[in-house]
Every structure is written in C-alpha cells, then in structure tokens.
Symmetry: C2
Subunit: 224 residues, 2 copies
DNA sequence: CGCACGCTTCGGCCGCCACCGAACCGTGCG
DNA sequence: CGCACGGTTCGGTGGCGGCCGAAGCGTGCG
C-alpha cells in the first residue's frame, strides 16, 4: 500500500458530497449526533450511519456513546487542517481571488453551542483562571466568590436553569479548555449585548468589533 | 454551490487511485509528460488523458505544450500543501505513530532531474549569484569567469555535451530560481561525490550528511 | 512526403457505491 | 411493561465514472 493509494482512500472519503457535508458541519469542533449529521448531510439516517462508520473506521472521526445518542467529532486537529487545506484549494473560485479565510476566522473566535471558543474563548478562560475567578480542570469547574462578584460587575448574569453552572469544554483548534455551562453562555451573551462581538451570517465564526478589541483588552487583558 | 460541495468535488479528484498516483508523482515539483504520468498512474494513455483534463480543468495542474509533448506540473504551492495535508492524515498508520515527514524533507533538499532543488538548491544559487559567480534570470543564465574558476576549484567539472550550460529552473516549494543545466548537474554530482549528500531510497528527497552540513557552510555559507 | 509518435476523442462495457425501504437492537420514559 | 426514538444492518436498485479499443489530429523527423 503506497503513499498515493493511502492518500486516495482518505481523499475518496472526503470526495462524497454527503460525507463532505458531515465533515464540514464538524469543522467548528462541536460534537453532533448521528441524526443531526444526517440532516446536515441531507441524506437518510441509514445512509448517514454507513458514512459515519466509514469515517470513524478511517480514523477521521471520534465517536462517543452517551445515553442513546452517539456523538461524533473530528478525531484530531490534523483532520481539521486537512479539511482547511482542501477548502483553500477549492475556495478561491467563488467570490474573487481571495483564498479561503474561514479556517483562520474560526480559529480566532467562534461560538461553540452558546458559549465562546477559539483563541478568544481560551484567552478569556485563561484570564479568569489566572485572576482566581475560576478554577477549571478537565473534569469540572467552579467559580470563586471573587469571580461571582467580577462577573456580576461585568453584567454577565447567568440564565436561571438546571444546567451545570461552570463546565470546561475542550477546544478543538487550541487543544485547551475554554468556559462552558451557564456561566460560559452568560459571558458570551454579555459580549454580544455590549456590541463587542457580531455573529457571522452563515458560519459559527464571530467578528470582534472595534469596541470589542478595546473592551477585551481593558477588561480581560485579551488581545487577538 | 456550498463550501462543502466544492470541497467534495476537489477531494473526489484526489480520491481516484490513478489520479492520486499522478499527483503524487508531481509532488517534487517536476514537470512530466502525459505518457510518463500514464506510467506512474499504471493506466493507459487514453485514461490518463482524461484524468489530466479533469485535473487541469479543476486548476490543480498546469499544462505547457512543448513540441509534441505536453508537460504537466502542480499548479500552485497550495496544491502541494493540500496533498501534504492529506498525506499527513493518511500516513501515520504505516510504520508507527510518526506523522508524514516527506513534505518537509522534499522542501529542504531534493533532486530535480539531475540537479538540486528545495531550500538547498535555492541557497546555492543565491550564494553564487551574490558572489558574482553566476548571473541568473528567468529566461537564462550565465557563469562568469570568476565562477568558472571557483567551480573548477570546487571540483565541479561539468559533463561534456550539447545540453545548455547554465539554466534557471523555477523551484516549486520556494517559488524562486535554482541552478539547472550542465553546471547544475556538475554541482550536484560533486556534492554527492564528496559525501555531503545522500540519496533517499525511494524518494527524490536528499539527506544532508554531517560533513555536508559543515562543508556547505564553509564553502557556500549555506546553513539549513 | 510519409511514417512514427504523443496525445486526444469517442463509444461501449463493467464494477463499484451511494441511496433508501424495511426490519432489527438497545435505551429512555411514561 | 409498552411505546417512542436513536441508531444500525440488510438487500435490492440505479447511476455515475473509470477503463480500454479504435480512430482521429497535430507535430517532428528521416
């Protein structure tokens, strides 16, 4: 089995439109269920199941059972880089000559469910941890009394509910933790409300406004 | 036409074994004829012609007519990077856990026909130009009297023959010129004879020995 | 000029694979 | 329990695309 034929078998997996849709939907690092991916791929659940089996078999996806669901995510950053590289070649034809910038934008700042990820998300988490406002480990997290006060001052009121309050979330592009749970959502909501961040039209990438640049540096010491 | 479907159509091109062989054969930056590529792909010339048409149509290859031959090469460094990224995902299964290093090795130093390319080839050319030993432009090259003497001292005797003496060759990975022609071959041969370089078993990548490291710095001021 | 050669086009064959309907497990929930 | 639901397996079908033989076109060389 030569280099070329191994490359071909991997590329053939990306070469099917349904599978390409699946991988594309996972490029922001989220973990989605088989059914959600079936919807994204625009094919039936049975067909999707076959595709997912092939992709995990080839090591492109990781699968995790949870209750009666099965969550799929990209198996490694290497896979994401490969997808970006193909996008970079496939992209330029569209608008004008600009290479595909989506990957860079996603790595800088994006939403992950209802909280923030990418360099921005990790940067915020780092600051809060460094200041002793938050304690964050791979298996859980906690907000200190100082942190509660700080976040209240900042205007980040966590929504009421039974969801876990403070939770770590593994960041795909940074390979480090960022802040999830109700407190992660509160932080993100406040940033949007302040006009610091703007949602992109049809991507999970997030644009940082001029006010955002200034505010993030002043309040969190985060400069991107 | 979404990002994902454009990605799929590109990836589908890489996903066929014959086309993967073709692209793989071109990864060192050489330009090969349709027939040579047919041999590399292990399919008939007719079939190869179809594949080459698809690949050039998609912008992955550049074609140049020359006499009754047609030379194909990778259209851009972006394409090479994409191939490397796919190799990086496809490769690790093989030996042990090591990621695929072929791309980096090829960019550092490789043979291009019978002369040297990559950072090494470009570095040598730069030095010779900077010292006034060689004049090199996109449409031709010349060795000065000083250069003749220098190369004689170095032991690089150009083989006799009717081939052009000094010629530039566009380097794929560096996007700059390196030295080809009889003088380029002489330089490469001398480096191999001195034990500065060793050919890799089944790749055009070239290994620089310890003596080579020292000698290249001393004689050419080239450090990689 | 004529043959050889490189490359391309056309036509038809064949195999592979994506796709879905139907039926089958297992989990969760009332 | 029994139903609902997520996910998977199986079987059959259809279509796309790779493949080569044969024939066509242009270039180069004796």
């Amino acid at each position: 089995m030569s280099d070329a034929s191994r490359m071909a078998s991997i590329a053939a997996l990306l070469g099917d439109p349904a599978r390409a849709n699946i991988l594309s939907a996972l490029m922001d690092g989220r973990a989605l269920t088989a059914k959600e991916l079936a919807f994204a791929a625009r094919v039936s659940p049975q067909t999707t199941s076959g595709h997912l089996a092939k992709l995990t078999e080839a090591g492109l996806l990781d699968a995790a059972r949870q209750g009666r669901h099965r969550y799929f995510r990209l198996a490694s950053p290497l896979v994401g880089q490969m997808l970006e590289a193909v996008m970079a070649v496939a992209g330029p034809d569209e608008r004008h000559g600009a290479p595909w910038r989506g990957g860079e934008a996603l790595r800088t700042a994006r939403t992950c469910y209802d909280h923030l990820a990418g360099r921005l998300g990790v940067g915020l988490a780092d600051t809060l941890v460094a200041r002793g406002h938050v304690v964050l480990g791979t298996d859980g997290g906690e907000v200190t009394a100082d942190g509660q006060a700080f976040l209240r001052d900042f205007g980040a009121d966590p929504p009421a509910g039974r969801r876990v309050f403070c939770r770590p979330c593994l960041d795909w592009s940074e390979r480090r933790l960022h802040l999830a749970g109700r407190i992660g959502a509160a932080l993100a909501n406040r940033c949007f409300a302040l006009g610091w961040l703007e949602r992109h039209r049809d991507s999970r990438a997030v644009r940082i406004t001029a006010e955002g640049q200034a505010g993030l540096v002043e309040v969190f010491g985060v400069r991107l």
